[in-house]
């Protein structure tokens, strides 16, 4: 599903040249559930952004669902991202003045989906928030807000779900709930990649990739029998 070959990303910060990713190569099969861990500044978010087509590599290759993406034009990237990829962020990033339902409908509005309301309602039920459809973010707990964000990420039925530190702002109990939700989603067929600091929760996933200083230093798949 995701094929990365010798991928590097370098950017400028003022006078400095920062090498965020250096010759990264890895493969992700469809339907995998994996964690990307590493210290701050190791490049994990950069990797996620490139996989999510929000950023382009400086060199190297990346293909998603067979389609080469390293030189994708902005418009093509927009369309591919809209239809294939869902994002969950650490800071939740819901629109504060819109209800849960409206927030989940938003990506469908951009995609021009006429059945937005029904699909959004279904998604919110799926993440267990059927009773919160018309609530504003200010009326929900952190965990509930992140669930809405997950529902929103699923709005356009993506094949890949990317989560960047989704539990960073949540307590441990809620964090576990969110990870379980992600697991459910993965079991329904979506490829899920989670960037996280939480090594404990990461260990519960079937595969963990460790990044440091822009390089992959470990890629551990748990034995199917050991899971």
């Amino acid at each position: 599903m995701i094929h990365i070959e010798n991928l590097s990303k370098t950017y400028r910060r003022g006078q400095e040249e920062v090498r965020a990713l250096v010759n990264v190569s890895l493969n992700v099969e469809a339907g995998e559930f994996l964690a990307v861990v590493g210290p701050s500044g190791s490049g994990k978010s950069t990797l996620l952004n490139i996989v999510g087509l929000l950023d382009r590599p400086t060199s190297g290759r990346i293909s998603i669902a067979g389609k080469p993406c390293e030189k994708l034009g902005t418009r093509e990237a927009e369309l591919l991202r809209r239809n294939t990829i869902g994002f969950v962020f650490q800071q939740f990033l819901l629109v504060p003045t819109m209800t849960a339902l409206q927030n989940v409908m938003l990506p469908m509005y951009f995609a021009g989906d006429p059945a937005a309301r029904e699909k959004a309602t279904e998604l919110l039920h799926r993440v267990g928030l059927g009773n919160r459809l018309l609530h504003l973010p200010s009326q929900m707990s952190g965990g509930e807000i992140q669930r809405v964000a997950v529902a929103r990420a699923l709005a356009n039925n993506p094949s890949i779900l990317l989560a960047d530190e989704p539990t960073g702002n949540l307590d441990s109990r809620t964090a576990e709930d969110i990870f379980n939700l992600l697991r459910e989603i993965n079991q329904a067929g979506t490829t899920v990649i989670v960037v996280t600091h939480n090594t404990e929760l990461a260990a519960s996933l079937p595969r963990t990739i460790t990044i440091r200083d822009g390089k992959v230093i470990a890629d551990v798949k748990k034995d199917a029998s050991a899971a």
């Binding site: 952004n49 991202r81 962020f89 990033l93 629109v95 938003l106 951009f110």
Partner: protein, 392 residues
């Protein structure tokens, strides 16, 4: 969910700022609307007023004829006069159907100044629509009152209640009784505010014996007007203007005045537009993270552009609409306002609501809105999603 709901969500988040932005545009649009509507009303009113003079040509003593007409219309004392025998000379000219002499002055009654006009029965040929209750003045001291004057006197004076009563007025330092022998039915022109008497009475009271101020002339054939004017001006010390010329001059003056004001208002609108641009730019800065988010969840650059562009446009459109609304109110009050500043005004209301004024006062702000929102919307669309998301 549609474009409107999202745009409305954006506007209502910053109610005060949106309101102030709209207010700036509204003020400019109000002024624009009033300017256009009042100008149209003024021109139409002036035209009607001048037509109600009944004459096509007015002969006055040499000087500035426009000044003469202006003073006539406001009911003041005109500086120069013509000898009375000029009337006969004019009457004899080939194309002249009627030559009616007029003497203009004023008298004091009930602590107010009132226009006094001395005429002969020849004037009736010019003002064919006049209907007089009672009769036309024939003897010395007899007057016909315009309908508004008559009503005012009947209400406020003790001595005057109707035809047959007298009013004791002050003219040129003397106190004189004037007998009201007729009342003019409402004409909808300045005539309703005037008092008419015989030529001799006016000449005597105003110390203009043997003189006339103007001669109102009706021609037989309108095509012959230029030739007739030449003939009239061949008479020494006489100047003639056509009513059409006067109207044309007034139109030019109004146009010049309007053009100047228009420029000022355009400047005001540009300033309003800059305000809108500022508001929109601030909105883009504040919502940078949100824009990054929207791009991450599938919004294209065009969709982001459309969102912010629509928001700015909506602010200007509603500003223009409110401006037209408030402008309608100020236009209807326009007479009151204008009369303070403009000396020559038609009778009746100058305030007229026109769709043209609505169109201009909405379209100009929208035009300004388009220009001023373009840059902020383009900026929003061009934001790099990752950097945007990193924004605080």
């Amino acid at each position: 969910m549609n474009l409107f709901t999202i745009v409305w969500d954006g506007i209502r988040r910053r109610k005060i700022r949106s309101a102030l932005s709209i207010l700036g545009i509204t003020i400019a649009a109000t002024a624009l609307f009033s300017l256009i509507a009042l100008k149209q009303g003024y021109e139409q009113g002036m035209q009607a007023e001048l037509e109600k003079m009944g004459a096509q040509i007015v002969a006055v003593a040499k000087g500035c004829p426009y000044e003469a007409i202006a003073v006539i219309m406001t009911g003041g004392q005109v500086p120069a006069t013509l000898p009375e025998d000029v009337v006969e000379q004019i009457q004899k000219l080939p194309n002249v159907a009627s030559a009616s002499p007029n003497v203009y002055g004023a008298y004091k009654y009930l602590n107010l100044s009132h226009p006094l006009i001395g005429i002969t029965s020849e004037e009736l040929k010019l003002k064919s629509w006049w209907k007089i209750q009672g009769r036309f003045p024939q003897n010395f001291g007899e007057v016909v009152l315009g309908s508004v004057e008559a009503k005012m006197f009947a209400d406020k004076s003790n001595e005057f209640k109707g035809i047959g009563d007298s009013i004791t007025v002050t003219v040129g330092g003397k106190t004189v009784p004037l007998k009201v022998v007729g009342i003019l039915e409402t004409t909808g022109s300045k005539d309703d505010y005037s008092t008419y008497t015989t030529l001799q009475t006016a000449q005597d009271l105003l110390n203009l014996q043997g003189r006339v101020v103007a001669v109102n002339i009706r021609v037989k054939d309108i095509g012959g007007v230029p030739a007739t004017i030449e003939d009239i001006e061949a008479i020494p010390d006489v100047q003639a203007v056509t009513v059409a010329q006067v109207l044309g001059t007034i139109r030019n003056l109004v146009q010049a005045g309007q053009s100047t004001l228009f420029l000022v208002l355009l400047v005001a609108l540009v300033i309003g537009g800059l305000g809108t641009m500022n508001t929109m730019l601030m909105a883009v800065f504040e919502r940078t993270r949100e824009i990054g988010l929207m791009k991450a969840i599938g919004a294209s650059r065009w969709q982001i552009f459309r969102l912010f562009f629509s928001e700015g446009l909506a602010l200007c459109f509603f500003g223009g609409l409110f401006g037209a609304g408030i402008g309608s109110v100020t236009t209807l009050m326009g007479d009151v306002l204008l009369k303070q500043f403009v000396s020559v005004m038609p009778t009746g209301s100058v305030g007229q609501l026109s769709w043209y004024a609505v169109a201009v006062s909405v379209l100009f702000p929208v035009g300004v809105g388009i220009l001023s929102t373009l840059y902020p919307a383009l900026r929003a669309a061009g934001l790099n999603p990752i950097e945007a998301l990193r924004n605080e």
